[in-house]
């Protein structure tokens, strides 16, 4: 794991897409992890960013607002140009190439893309199936993370260059819950809910490394 630099002049500038969801927790976690973190609600907020975090929330709502307020295309362009990105839960869905509903029907919603994978929404079930468990994440030292899954997705149809960092056992077999390709990281669970900032530090490390 790359150590995050102390926040200051050399700290990476990381935006948190702040349209809906658990924005405040992620801003606090990024600052704790050494980034200069700012909310992003307008295209001009993207200027000068080294990375973007797309938080948990409702992926359909975040996608619609991003489309309405002119953020979809600028974000897609920057992701294509190598902007570092970290999506948690709904944010991970938005960073996927495609999204399907729980039962596999296509989900007609705006996505940012960036990760060659398909996110299956609410894959573990509705809220009564939401859970917490210890999950080991490859590349994250110091023991397993306490992972909180809220109506969480899992990731399917991963491209050849997408690395699996964590998976959980389900009745259908092992399913991917943390994935990374280059500068883009996606987690189906919410590290910001347990105040374990190791994944945020990994991301800040990615964002502070030149493209």
């Amino acid at each position: 794991m790359v150590d995050a630099p102390a926040a200051g002049a050399g700290a990476p500038a990381v935006g948190v897409l702040a349209l809906q969801g658990d924005v405040a927790e992620n801003l606090a976690m990024l600052r704790h992890a050494g980034a200069r973190a700012t909310p992003v609600r307008r295209p001009s907020d993207l200027d000068g960013l080294d990375g973007i975090l797309v938080p948990g929330g409702e992926s359909t709502t975040i996608g619609k607002l991003a489309a309405m307020y002119g953020l979809l295309e600028p974000l897609r362009e920057r992701l294509a140009a190598g902007l570092a990105a970290f999506g948690t839960c709904a944010g991970a869905i938005l960073l996927a190439r495609g999204a399907v509903l729980h039962d596999g029907r296509p989900s007609d919603q705006p996505l940012l893309g960036g990760l060659d994978m398909v996110a299956r929404r609410n894959a573990f079930g509705r809220q009564i199936a939401s859970f917490e468990a210890d999950v080991d994440v490859a590349g994250v030292d110091g023991g397993p993370m306490r992972a909180v899954f809220i109506r969480a997705p899992w990731f399917e149809e991963l491209g050849a260059d997408v690395r699996v960092l964590a998976a959980v056992e389900t009745p259908l077999g092992a399913r991917v819950v943390v994935a990374r390709r280059g500068r883009v990281l996606a987690s189906a669970f919410h590290p910001e809910l347990t105040h374990d900032d190791r994944l945020h530090r990994l991301f800040v490390g990615i964002a502070s490394t030149p493209t």
Partner: protein
């Protein structure tokens, strides 16, 4: 379900060996975390699957399934109860956003039914006719999380003590009048500010005055906020109402009768969503407030008798 796995699901350069701890469902963290994901969003009352689709397309973060919106409950009278499970299930099938549904205060069997149906959140609501005049549901006993209304800090902390994972200020549902929502939000946030100024030894008397658990009073005094998400409800009818409540400290907004009792439900729903996200940007609130047509007519508080006030329900 969701047991961490040793090994790896497909070819990859890294191994993913995990602890074999059993997954835990329905913990406080899982229940409260669900509400965290709704923050900054609008939850809309719907009575049919068609309305649920309109709400989802407008950007609702969740929908609240109920038999009649509060304005119709006021108009028609009678006992207001949990919705028919068929209607709730039809709404669950129609949308991909979370679905909430209401139960009567203290009616823990209605809550058991909704948990069995699989709703994502239960609202133990004063908008329905109370089933128990002394006790609320023991919400710790459920896997499904609960949201409850509150008019002040003591009421909010009593509900959290009973296991509520989310609080909404009550306001006065079905009136289209935001004045009570403002009163209740100010009472809750003002109560929190008051607690945070107290010396530690003064918190015990404060807990007694509030009628609230002392450990929760101490926690709120230390952190300066509720330990759960705080939404607002009851009388929000316009984009400016929603932005007002957000500026007063709400984490998000419930809109009941205000949308489907207005002239243009889809347009108004979308405008309220935008005003909730950009609540501190007056130019956006101005833009989305234009051309929405008639808001719901609304009721002036002075014309409501005590018996018609729903916010007084809850103990």
């Amino acid at each position: 379900m969701g047991r961490p796995v040793a090994g790896r699901p497909r070819r990859t350069q890294v191994s993913t060996v995990s602890e074999q701890t059993a997954p835990i469902h329905g913990s406080d963290r899982v229940k409260r975390g669900m509400a965290d994901m709704l923050k900054g969003g609008v939850i809309m009352d719907v009575v049919t699957a068609e309305q649920a689709v309109v709400a989802e397309r407008a950007g609702a973060v969740a929908v609240m399934a109920l038999e009649r919106v509060p304005a119709d409950i006021r108009a028609h009278g009678g006992v207001a109860r949990m919705s028919d499970p068929d209607v709730v299930e039809a709404i669950m099938r129609a949308v991909s956003v979370p679905v909430m549904a209401k139960v009567r205060i203290g009616h823990f069997v209605e809550a058991q039914v909704l948990q069995a149906v699989g709703v994502d959140y239960v609202d133990e609501s004063e908008v329905l006719t109370p089933a128990d005049e002394a006790h609320h549901c023991d919400k710790h006993a459920f896997t499904v999380p609960f949201v409850c209304g509150a008019t002040n800090l003591g009421e909010a902390l009593r509900r959290i003590g009973e296991g509520a994972a989310m609080i909404r200020s009550k306001g006065e549902a079905g009136t289209g009048n935001v004045v009570e929502a403002v009163r209740h939000m100010r009472a809750i946030t003002g109560g929190i500010r008051h607690l945070s100024r107290l010396a530690p030894e003064e918190r015990y008397a404060a807990a007694k005055e509030l009628g609230a658990p002392a450990d929760l009073v101490a926690e709120v005094a230390e952190t300066g906020r509720l330990p759960v998400v705080l939404f607002t409800a009851g009388g929000i009818a316009t984009p400016a109402d929603a932005a007002l409540m957000m500026q007063l400290g709400a984490d998000g907004v419930f809109v009941g009768s205000g949308i489907f009792k207005s002239a243009d439900p889809a347009g108004r729903a979308r405008a309220i969503v935008e005003a909730t996200t950009y609540f501190d940007a007056p130019e956006v609130v101005a833009k989305v407030s234009r051309g929405l047509g008639e808001a719901m007519a609304g009721i002036e508080m002075g014309t409501l008798g005590d018996a018609d006030r729903l916010a007084g329900r809850g103990w």
